[in-house]
């Protein structure tokens, strides 16, 4: 009897959770991990695209820990829900391939955005920007404020993060030619974890007394580094730069710990991802040379690997941080 009562009670609770949405087109926006301002902004753009296109439900989801294994669990549950498309920013380009291939076998359209998936595991990859351009931009952000040159170090996300690694490679490639007086002394990894990033930033400052700039091409790392510079009264001595969310980073532009940072527009990124996924659902075919409309952002042309850059990174400094910090 007691068991029956419990069952009846849970049934009633369960009924409250049941979602009525069936007729809509459902596109899942799968991010590296939740609780990240960048992806929340991407979701904002995704919702805008959904409103614009009409009759689209965006499922914004992702794991707590930024691991490939946890993301596979999320993908498996989306396959079970028979969503129409998955747009994913991957924690690992290779490990997600088998799970995403299974999704495609069951008729789900798959695109990757931001951090890509290997070609076999997706139909389109949308790069936020061009890898080489970002690599050059992050060095330039530091070099612009170092006319005499000097030592700089990179504080990255996880050592396995696809996009960060590509940018750092590109940055290293442009160093000897375009920035001969900039000396990259170290690359350390903060795993997109505030505590670890803080420790790594402290380590850099301790190990390299002549350090002039810390470049953190990750929104978590750049805040941690700027906080360390602020706390240790190194404002004016060590310039923190990299890729940062204006809203999270405004205080460090204001207090002078950083001169300038850059980022593409994550709102546009989420917006474009939903647009692309919707084009595929409507029956457009992804092949090299194909041109896709991404609404107000413009259009993209797929390259040989079915990937395309969205737009160039955008610089934030004292002149415009106020305005953008209110957006994302």
């Amino acid at each position: 009897m007691k068991l029956l009562k419990i069952l009846a009670a849970t049934t009633a609770i369960a009924a409250l959770f049941a979602s009525p949405a069936f007729a809509q087109t459902r596109i899942a926006l799968v991010v590296k991990s939740l609780g990240n301002g960048f992806f929340d902004a991407a979701n904002k753009g995704a919702q805008e695209a959904a409103t614009e296109l009409g009759d689209i439900e965006v499922i914004y989801t992702g794991p707590t820990a930024a691991t490939a294994e946890a993301q596979i669990e999320v993908v498996n549950s989306l396959i079970a829900q028979q969503v129409d498309a998955i747009a994913i920013s991957a924690n690992d380009p290779d490990a997600l391939v088998p799970a995403l291939q299974r999704a495609m076998q069951r008729g789900i359209k798959v695109i990757s955005f931001d951090s890509g998936v290997a070609e076999a595991g997706r139909q389109i990859h949308l790069n936020p920007s061009d890898t080489n351009l970002i690599g050059e931009t992050i060095i330039k952000l530091a070099a612009d404020y170092l006319p005499e040159g000097g030592d700089v170090a990179i504080l990255s996300a996880a050592s396995t993060a696809t996009n960060q690694n590509a940018w750092i490679e590109a940055a290293k490639a442009v160093l000897p030619e375009k920035f001969p007086n900039i000396n990259l002394v170290a690359t350390v990894y903060g795993d997109d974890d505030s505590v670890k990033s803080t420790d790594e930033a402290k380590g850099l400052i301790a190990s390299y007394p002549d350090l002039k700039a810390i470049i953190a091409p990750t929104t978590v790392g750049v805040v941690a580094a700027a906080q360390v510079v602020t706390d240790q009264n190194l404002i004016g001595k060590v310039n923190v730069t990299g890729l940062a969310l204006p809203s999270e980073f405004k205080q460090f532009i204001d207090n002078g710990a950083s001169q300038a940072v850059a980022l593409w527009n994550p709102i546009d990124l989420g917006y474009s991802a939903i647009y692309l996924a919707n084009e595929l659902i409507k029956g457009e075919e992804a092949k090299p040379g194909a041109v896709f409309s991404i609404g107000r952002v413009g259009e993209i042309t797929l390259d040989d690997t079915n990937s395309a850059p969205m737009a160039a990174p955008f610089q934030f400094d004292k002149s415009n941080i106020e305005e953008f910090s209110k957006i994302y």
């Binding site: 989801t61 992702g62 669990e73 079970a80 829900q81 490990a95 396995t160």
Partner: protein, 331 residues
């Protein structure tokens, strides 16, 4: 003075078998599993589908394989925190073997073998050098994963042969995956080992009082060494499955698996202080973890809420019997 030999009887204070079965930890877990299953069925229209249920099992099989051996280790009063790192090292070594042209049987042998060696190394440090297992395995956790990082850096190994991929992606029959079958087979093996053999009895004896066990003629160190080897072996097997499922190796593979495996063991009713526990409980706990994570996933519940839920479930299930006992004593 009456005759002391007649009319004296020990009162039967033991609960009758039916009652004690109903009040056992395992029954509580079955109840929790049923409730969650029913909840999932009603909350999502996609849950009661053979492929969904099959996909669900992938959420726990690899961790549960480790939890089986971990249960024995914890019952004996030891612990191994390096299991996830063993997976990373075993997977890396398989990737390395692949670069030298190894085929599927060799890859499996390398994965399982490296796991066994790592377990033996832990076992040697704990039983040979008499170091506390928690300290040893925190150390080897960094050591094993560190080696994987040195070998791989920010690169990855991929392009495993399709026949190897079958271990992590293949189905034995219909929707029954190879991983699930392997888990069930090992669950049966560990059940017999722990509950039906002398070896299992000795594991309990060591966990309750290893000094007394030693004086009773149990070769404590040898059994502990074997348990560490078994845990390493299961981690090696999990490494084969996970690598085959992901089709690639990175040094960050399986991060956090050790805590999930230990959560399964504790949720399964194994005393963290050693000396008590059952394989049935661990298997049920693994199933519950799978049901919870997959069910909440179907509702697109954010991962952080899922962690809160699992934490809450763990505390509730552990606190319930204690509260029940306090309530019964007062009544």
């Amino acid at each position: 003075m009456s005759d002391v030999t007649t009319g004296r009887q020990l009162p039967n204070r033991l609960d009758n078998p039916l009652k004690s079965t109903l009040l056992s930890w395992e029954s509580l877990l079955v109840l929790v599993a049923v409730v969650i299953f029913v909840f999932n069925s009603y909350s999502s229209p996609y849950f009661l589908n053979e492929w969904s249920l099959s996909d669900m099992t992938f959420n726990f099989t690899e961790k549960a394989l480790i939890a089986l051996a971990m249960a024995l280790l914890i019952i004996s009063g030891e612990i191994d925190l390096s299991v996830a790192a063993i997976i990373a090292l075993a997977s890396t070594m398989m990737g390395l073997a692949l670069q030298y042209g190894a085929d599927t049987p060799v890859l499996v042998a390398v994965g399982v073998g490296v796991g066994l060696l790592c377990g033996a190394f832990n076992g040697f440090l704990v039983t040979g050098l008499k170091l506390p297992s928690i300290v040893v395995t925190i150390g080897t956790m960094s050591l094993f994963r560190g080696i994987a990082f040195i070998v791989l850096g920010d690169k990855s190994f991929g392009n495993y042969p399709a026949s190897f991929g079958w271990f992590g992606q293949g189905y034995v029959w219909w929707v029954i995956s190879f991983e699930l079958v392997l888990f069930l087979v090992f669950a049966a093996v560990y059940f017999v080992l722990l509950h039906r053999t002398n070896f299992g009895r000795r594991v309990f004896a060591i966990g309750n009082n290893d000094v007394a066990a030693q004086f009773s003629g149990v070769r404590v160190d040898r059994i502990k060494f074997i348990l560490f080897c078994l845990t390493g072996l299961m981690s090696g097997i999990a490494a084969v499955l996970l690598t085959a499922r992901l089709g690639s190796t990175r040094p960050s593979i399986a991060e956090g698996f050790e805590l999930e495996a230990i959560t399964m063991v504790v949720l399964g009713g194994v005393s963290i202080l050693g000396g008590a526990g059952s394989i049935v409980g661990v298997v049920l706990a693994a199933l519950i973890m799978g049901l919870v994570t997959f069910g909440l996933g179907l509702l697109n519940v954010p991962g952080i809420v899922m962690s809160i839920f699992i934490g809450g479930l763990l505390i509730t299930v552990i606190a319930l019997p204690i509260l029940f006992r306090m309530w019964r004593q007062r009544a």
